[in-house]
């Protein structure tokens, strides 16, 4: 860790696309216990004016958490994470997460997610030398921002 700021362009900036299906939305809704019919039933969603089933608020995480992770099994380590993931492992802690909603995601949407490293700082505290990385992910459909996510990861330097 501590190498991210000097990493490949793919780590500092990624753009990926996901075609959201009804099954994707239903699966996530079931996983978090979101039982409203508008997440599961097209007719119910259209009845309230939506074009198709609408995603629960945190559905964007299904896209964000898989950014850069669609890789062959041979590239996954014993821990299940990408071998080349420079911020993977137990020495990394989640910091603050901020989310703002600007629109909904529906089945049939093609979501463009842009992830960029927006800040890096170093601190020395009781836990030793820490690197704080701040990332931003935007989720857009046809150029219109739907969700903006900002999150930090705190990494201790290798001993």
């Amino acid at each position: 860790v501590g190498r991210v700021k000097d990493s490949s362009p793919e780590v500092q900036f990624r753009v990926e696309h996901r075609d959201v299906t009804r099954s994707d939305i239903r699966r996530f809704a079931d996983a978090i216990g979101a039982t409203s019919r508008v997440h599961h039933d097209v007719a119910a969603a259209r009845e309230v004016g939506y074009p198709d089933v609408v995603a629960p608020l945190f559905f964007f995480m299904t896209i964000g958490l898989s950014v850069g992770r669609h890789v062959p099994r041979s590239l996954l380590g014993r821990d299940g994470l990408n071998r080349d993931d420079e911020l993977a492992g137990r020495r990394v802690l989640a910091g603050e997460t901020e989310v703002s909603w600007h629109g909904d995601i529906f089945a049939g949407d093609r979501v463009e997610v842009e992830q960029r490293l927006v800040d890096h700082s170093e601190k020395t505290g009781r836990s030793g030398h820490l690197n704080v990385y701040v990332f931003e992910r935007s989720y857009s459909v046809e150029g219109n921002l739907r969700i903006l996510e900002r999150f930090s990861r705190i990494a201790r330097d290798d001993e």
């Binding site: 994707d24 699966r27 996530f28 079931d30 996983a31 978090i32 216990g33 979101a34 039982t35 409203s36 508008v38 309230v48 609408v54 995603a55 629960p56 608020l57 945190f58 995480m61 299904t62 958490l65 898989s66 992770r69 669609h70 996954l76 014993r78 821990d79 299940g80 994470l81 137990r90 989640a94 910091g95 603050e96 997460t97 901020e98 989310v99 703002s100 909603w101 600007h102 629109g103 909904d104």
Partner: protein
């Protein structure tokens, strides 16, 4: 789930206890293969006390809780920030709560600020955050979860 009104009062709460199947299903929905979320022995090798519940899962539960309070009054979530303070493990009981801390009105729009928490049955806060809710916001999911 309970609902009441009043500043600094808990307006919604729900008690949960998730098992490893719940955590696995969340990982599957998010295409998250991290082994700590389905292999207790591996999680212990990594220094954890058990299989941890994903941070985004806790965030999703808090957002759904607030939405369950906001939607019936024509309001929707505009933003949310949260931070994980301690691990939460499968098999541990916990309560997700939303507390109304501010309410203001401008023109036709009412803004609410709520504090949200995930607190284990042991009393330790695992996740804490703030949610902004607005009425007349048609840009977000105004449906009950």
């Amino acid at each position: 789930m309970s609902n009441s009104h009043g500043k600094n009062a808990i307006v919604a709460s729900v008690h949960e206890c998730l098992d490893v199947v719940d955590v696995f299903l969340f990982s599957a929905a998010c295409e998250l293969p991290h082994r700590i979320h389905y292999d207790a022995e591996f999680a212990k090798e990594e220094g954890l006390a058990g299989v941890p519940i994903q941070g985004p899962f806790q965030g999703a539960l808090l957002a759904q809780l607030v939405q369950s309070w906001a939607a019936p009054q024509g309001a929707a979530l505009r933003s949310m920030s949260f931070r994980h303070l301690a691990p939460l493990y499968v098999g541990e009981g916990f309560t997700c709560s939303a507390m109304l801390s501010e309410e203001s009105q401008s023109d036709e729009i009412t803004n609410f600020v709520l504090g949200v928490e995930v607190v284990g049955d042991d009393g330790i806060v695992r996740t804490r955050g703030v949610v902004e809710v607005v009425t007349n916001n048609t840009n977000s999911t105004g449906v009950e979860p």
